[in-house]
């Protein structure tokens, strides 16, 4: 079984707010020297694919990224943790356009050896749009299971645990299907061994221009961004309390906890 994992290379979302700068000329962040990483939910997706291979269900995993040339750095990490092939679909950095991304990724998936599943994160850690996975399923004509916590294979079907409103559900779907993955303690990406990291530096990374991947002519943009600004200041100031007793008293005064006021 071949699984494709879509990874996005993004600015490190752990960047503290004071280091986050917005380009004064256009609605994009300023990359500066900020570190670039694999989007965190995509790492959860990658871990689930690797676990399926550990359990003997998947025989081949391909990491696929639509991105700028420097995204090969993130694909090297994927190679270091054990994917069999890494493919970069070269794309100059552009504004967020999930429909276009999904269309291009779908064409690449169809160009690769037939896959039983595509795994990706439920949303990217930069624009947080949360659309590409679902749109990729639409573009491929495959079913989509979102908010996946875990996946297994039984009787030639995928069995997935997913979040639903009010709880969780276990669902089954025949391949091929798209799964968008959310974080749990059981899908944190494994650390690569140092030897694997070094070996990954020498592995070839397939690079395709979108046209080579057989994508259709550029689909029209379906999302436009006209402004990007820091959030409004919450302000107000913090009142420091010396101890728990003082805190309890203040909360009582405000009737936020039982026992306050002139009851």
């Amino acid at each position: 079984m071949h699984i494709v994992v879509c990874l996005k290379a993004i600015l490190d979302p752990e960047l503290p707010p004071r280091s986050f700068r917005i380009d004064p000329g256009r609605p994009q962040p300023l990359a500066g020297n900020a570190a670039r990483v694999i989007s965190p939910f995509d790492e959860n997706a990658l871990e689930l694919a690797l676990q399926l291979r550990d359990r003997g269900h998947a025989t081949r995993i391909t990491a696929l990224t639509l991105g700028e040339p420097r995204a090969v750095e993130q694909l090297r990490k994927a190679l270091a943790v054990g994917v069999d092939e890494a493919v970069l679909l070269s794309d100059p950095a552009a504004g967020p356009d999930p429909a276009r991304t999904a269309t291009l990724l779908a064409a690449a998936v169809r160009r690769l050896p037939p896959a039983a599943a595509v795994f990706c994160g439920r949303q990217a850690g930069d624009w947080d749009l949360g659309q590409v996975g679902s749109l990729l399923a639409e573009a491929l004509g495959w079913p989509c299971v979102p908010f996946v916590l875990g996946v297994d294979v039984a009787a030639d079907e995928f069995v997935a645990e997913r979040e639903v409103d009010g709880g969780q559900a276990r669902v089954a779907v025949a391949p091929p299907a798209v799964f968008t993955v959310t974080n749990t303690d059981r899908n944190q990406l494994r650390m690569p061994k140092t030897r694997a990291v070094l070996a990954a530096m020498r592995r070839p990374i397939t690079q395709w221009a979108p046209a080579e991947a057989g994508s259709p002519a550029d689909p029209p943009p379906r999302l436009a961004v006209r402004a990007l600004a820091p959030p409004p200041d919450v302000g107000g100031g913090c009142e420091w309390v010396a101890d728990a007793a003082t805190l309890a008293a203040r909360l009582r005064e405000l009737r936020l906890v039982p026992g306050g006021g002139g009851a």
Partner: protein, 336 residues
């Protein structure tokens, strides 16, 4: 006239949570676009839910011109393909240029797929409307884990907007007298031929234990990485029980396996709007703050006075939770 459709899902004839916010947002969007707002109710019992909604003096329905319904027992909870087919039919019947959905998990799941099938685009996680330019409606939404706010518009054809939970879109200025109660129109859709490739095997309610639900709780006590391990959560739970509060957690605590993902509060976890939010051992990453934007009073207990949570908090206690929580419990239990 430009139509704005508020689309919601009915189960067993019950109107969903968040309907008032959804219809308010639809009316606000309609006012900006110079159009009219309508609603669509999809699910088993949608007809009776619509009848209840169309009754006089129903504030949620005030200002809606039409209620469209697709009432079919085949629209079970996770019948996603059928829900999409029904939604497409309602959008066509309503001739809607703009469709609004609430941002529960169902809305976030269906929104992108509906937009694709309507040959349009999607704005997800919308927290407010930022004006209209002709037929284009601009929306505000958080990005970069809450470190920025973007103004975006989607479309080509239909614009689908998924509202962030708890987002309060400003209602339109009260204009002319609201039209009389909306007309109800059933939309015929043949769902019998719609396959559901994803099959439900089992469902479980949130295993977060007894106690108030996070999303609706008036008080939340949440724990983060500063708890150091799952045992710390026992103290958080004790404090929550004493305050009749729901228990929440930061993403770090969930990723470490100290508590269940259903307790995660934040951009991709639950969005909460309590009167009181007690953050224990939580540093205050922006994606966590995104989940508590609507919390009225935030209290932070943390050993690090530089933790970003203190910039959001109304009250700050720099202390180790192992001492602070028992002391707080003792102070709360002692007579006023």
């Amino acid at each position: 006239m430009s139509r704005v459709l508020a689309l919601c899902f009915v189960a067993d004839g019950q109107l969903p949570d968040g309907l008032a916010e959804l219809t308010t947002a639809a009316r606000a969007a309609a006012a900006l676009l110079g159009g009219e707002a309508v609603a669509g109710l999809i699910g088993p019992g949608a007809d009776s839910a619509a009848a209840a909604l169309a009754a006089p003096d129903q504030p949620e329905a005030a200002g809606l011109a039409v209620l469209y319904t697709v009432d079919d027992p085949l629209l079970s909870d996770l019948a996603v393909e059928r829900q999409l087919a029904a939604a497409q039919a309602v959008c066509r019947a309503a001739d809607a240029a703009t469709v609004l959905l609430n941002g529960d998990l169902r809305g976030r799941e269906l929104g992108p797929r509906l937009a694709w099938r309507l040959d349009g685009g999607l704005v997800s996680d919308c927290t407010g409307l930022a004006g209209a330019e002709g037929p284009r409606l601009w929306c505000r939404r958080p990005a970069f884990g809450g470190k920025a706010v973007a103004e975006v518009t989607a479309g080509g054809g239909v614009q689908v907007i998924v509202l962030r939970p708890r987002a309060k879109v400003e209602p339109p200025a009260p204009g002319a007298a609201a039209p009389a109660g909306p007309a109800t129109v059933g939309v015929p859709v043949d769902l019998s031929g719609v396959d559901e490739p994803v099959r439900l095997i089992a469902r479980a309610a949130d295993p977060a234990g007894t106690g108030p639900r996070l999303e609706t709780a008036r008080t939340v006590v949440a724990g983060g990485r500063g708890l150091g391990g799952p045992d710390g959560f026992a103290q958080v739970e004790e404090l929550a029980a004493a305050l009749d509060a729901a228990v929440g957690a930061s993403r770090a605590a969930v990723d470490a396996g100290w508590t269940h993902p259903a307790r995660q509060v934040g951009q991709t976890g639950r969005v909460v709007a309590p009167d009181l939010y007690l953050a224990v051992g939580i540093s205050g990453a922006t994606q966590h703050l995104a989940g508590i934007a609507a919390a009225r009073t935030v209290v932070a207990i943390n050993t690090d006075p530089e933790a970003p949570i203190f910039r959001r908090a109304r009250f700050g206690l720099v202390a180790d939770f192992r001492q602070a929580i028992p002391a707080l419990l003792a102070a709360l239990r002692s007579s006023g």
